[in-house]
Amino acid sequence: MSDKYTRREVLGHAARGAALVGLVGTAGVLALKANKTYAWQIDVEKCVNSKVGAWGVEVCELCATDCVLTLSAVRAVNEFSDCGRCYICPAYYKITSAVGPDGLPSEKVCPRDAIKREAIGWVDPDDPANNFYEYIIDEKKCNGCGRCIMECKEPAGLSSIKLEVRHNVCLDCNRCSIAQACPEEAYDRREPSAT
């Protein structure tokens, strides 16, 4: 112990230093959150609508109904590289509905008509089945109800449609109401790179 500091002064410096480290750490965590290093996301392997092995069960619509926003921040997203581009897509058509005069199912899956079906290339009017079709989700209409995800899932489809949180819309609430409601604990805060 030098003559310069008393024992009381040394202990005081140590306590202030520890408090400073704690403050910096807390500020760092807050800064990380502010910078969206962590964000609300959906684990597609837990979400009942996309979880493989749970095909044919009741659709969970909590992402659509429990978000504090009028139109949920959750949207259906079709990964085109995984899509089968089917003539009759089970996520687009209600495949158990009666067949219309055009040979196609008469009803659609999406209650908000948020999926657009477009032929890829020229369609032979005498054989429209001999073509591939693209299914595009209109995010201005989609509310993330998950019905198309359930129908697109293996084995009925190829699981190309998934639910995602749109971070430009999400309010990033500390206590997200969807996360509170999700029975599968599929909705949590993670690093974006973790998905």
Binding site: I95, L104, A129, N130, N131, P155, G157
Partner: protein, 279 residues
């Protein structure tokens, strides 16, 4: 025409007669022995489901066929391994520049037909392994529509090739040289005579009378059609794992239908019910 479920064999497990992870293809020889491929193994069963023998394949098998000489053909990635009836390697037909994933095989004196799911059509070779022609490549979109990832077909007594084209909800007919003859089938999610969902039928085989026996996915179902495409009967629409798809099938000389469940890894057998017979 009516069928009833009979026995099941195989299943998921570690016993010699079971499968650990995969069960993909099935074929039956002229003596009604059943050959199945899964877990990179060929397993041979008698008609009662008793394991007769088994052997490993060089690569993972995705399809299987038995020729009139008793040789066993196993379709793999870019090649076909041929074994004798006891599992000794005979030859390997490899064509890596042309072949992709082989999901169905037919062997006759006129040649070897290989369903190439990567190209989405059927490759025809002579018995010496020389490439002859493709079947299905004239489709405007460059092959069969197979969101399920497999092409399946069978060849009738006249040499006509019957192919499942699930994305178009059809069974198509071709000559061996690739000439398109026609199709039957249509989408229908309510009438069992039609093919439901995005893409059915997934698999097919022919019996001795030329009936076309198909399997479907979501929900798994087995149906028999006349050669002209008239639905004759629904063999089974329950009893399979609902998640199962691409259920390969084969028919023995008695008309019994053998179907693989790709999830439970069982082989299910359905036998024709004779009119007037008691159960």
């Amino acid at each position: 025409m009516e069928y009833r479920p009979a026995i099941r064999f195989g299943g998921k497990g570690t016993d010699a007669s079971q499968f650990r992870e995969t069960l993909r293809g099935i074929a039956i020889d002229e003596a009604d022995r059943i050959y199945v491929v899964g877990d990179s193994k060929v397993k041979v069963f008698d008609a009662q489901g008793e394991l007769l023998r088994r052997w490993k394949t060089g690569d993972e098998g995705h399809s299987i066929a038995v020729d009139v000489d008793g040789n066993v053909w196993v379709g793999q990635w870019q090649q076909v391994e041929v074994f004798d009836a006891d599992g000794r390697p005979v030859e390997t037909l490899a064509d890596p520049d042309r072949l992709g994933l082989i999901t169905a095989i037919a062997v006759s004196k006129d040649g070897v037909l290989l369903a190439d799911a990567s190209a989405r059509w059927i490759r025809r070779y002579d018995r010496e392994g020389n490439f002859l022609n493709n079947i299905g490549e004239q489709h405007r979109k460059g092959g069969f529509h197979i969101p399920n990832g497999i092409v399946d077909f069978d060849v009738d007594a006249q040499g006509i090739v019957h192919v499942a084209n699930p994305g178009m909800h059809r069974v198509e007919q071709y000559k061996a040289d690739g000439e398109y003859l026609g199709y039957w089938g249509k989408f229908d999610g309510q009438d069992p005579a039609g093919f439901p969902g995005c893409c059915n039928p997934t698999n097919l085989t022919l019996d001795a009378e030329g009936h076309v026996i198909v399997t479907e996915k979501a929900t798994p179902r087995v149906k028999v059609y006349s050669p002209e495409g008239e639905l004759l009967t629904v063999v089974a629409d329950e009893g399979f794992d609902p998640q199962a798809k691409n259920l390969d099938l084969a028919v023995d000389s008695k008309g019994n239908i053998y179907v693989v469940d790709t999830v439970t890894l069982e082989v299910q057998v359905f036998v024709p019910v004779t009119k007037g017979a008691t159960a």
